[in-house]
Symmetry: C2
Subunit: 140 residues, 2 copies
């Protein structure tokens, strides 16, 4: 929407803005997610980041993704039973989930209303509401 120039340089600024010390590896991982604006698994990110040249270990990929998550730079999407997807979009939104390809497509939450949800159990508050629309090719 607003800014769409995702270079490695302003990845460092983005990280600093979230109180994250920008290191080589962290910049590469952030760049992989933000430049593409896609939903990626840890394994995909590891492949992308190590594709060109530099080496980033599996431990660092997981460390970094969990760090980004804690600082609200990215969020997780739980939709595939076998792996977590990491999402550079932290704004309120939902997802189409293509059951055929595993692809995720964002749905802006601004246009969506959910009505008729029952009252929360006593002493509970809502942390968030996730809507997942599972879709597949019609000619399947």
């Amino acid at each position: 929407m607003e800014k769409q120039n995702y270079t490695r340089d302003n990845m460092a600024d983005l990280l600093r803005a979230h109180d994250i010390n920008p290191t080589h590896q962290r910049i590469e991982i952030a760049y992989a997610l933000f430049a593409r604006q896609e939903h990626l698994s840890a394994d995909q990110i590891m492949t992308i980041v190590n594709d060109r040249h530099s080496e980033t270990s599996k431990a660092t990929v997981y460390n970094t993704l969990n760090l980004f998550k804690q600082h609200n730079l990215i969020r997780e999407v739980i939709v595939d039973p076998s792996k977590v997807f990491y999402d550079p979009n932290t704004g309120p939104h939902h997802h189409f989930f293509n059951l055929e390809t595993g692809e995720l497509i964002d749905i802006d939450a601004g246009d969506v209303q959910i009505q008729g949800l029952p009252a929360l159990p006593a002493g509970m508050v809502t942390e968030g509401v996730d809507v997942i629309v599972r879709i597949r090719p019609s000619n399947a």
Copy 2:
């Protein structure tokens, strides 16, 4: 709602009604889910089924749960990044997910309306819509 007498005997009928050959192990696994009407992981089911006496292998637990799912006797709930929950309720419904305890609570879908979802990508049909309300204790 309707029937709430879940005995091992009518588990066999239930399995036959879904074209599943009722074996000892399948009856025990179905009984674990339907008598409790809870959302259980494969590991929890394995523990329950082997608790009293008989032995059921891990392979059979997974084989059976996948078989039940294929025959629409149960459904999966994908909400915890580390394990799948199996749900004896196949009617349309959503879930509260207690982030503290991992507990799932059903929300009947009859009362819930979702409006403002965008059009599906071309050539796609909806397989289902899942709503997950993540909740946590307010005094956290």
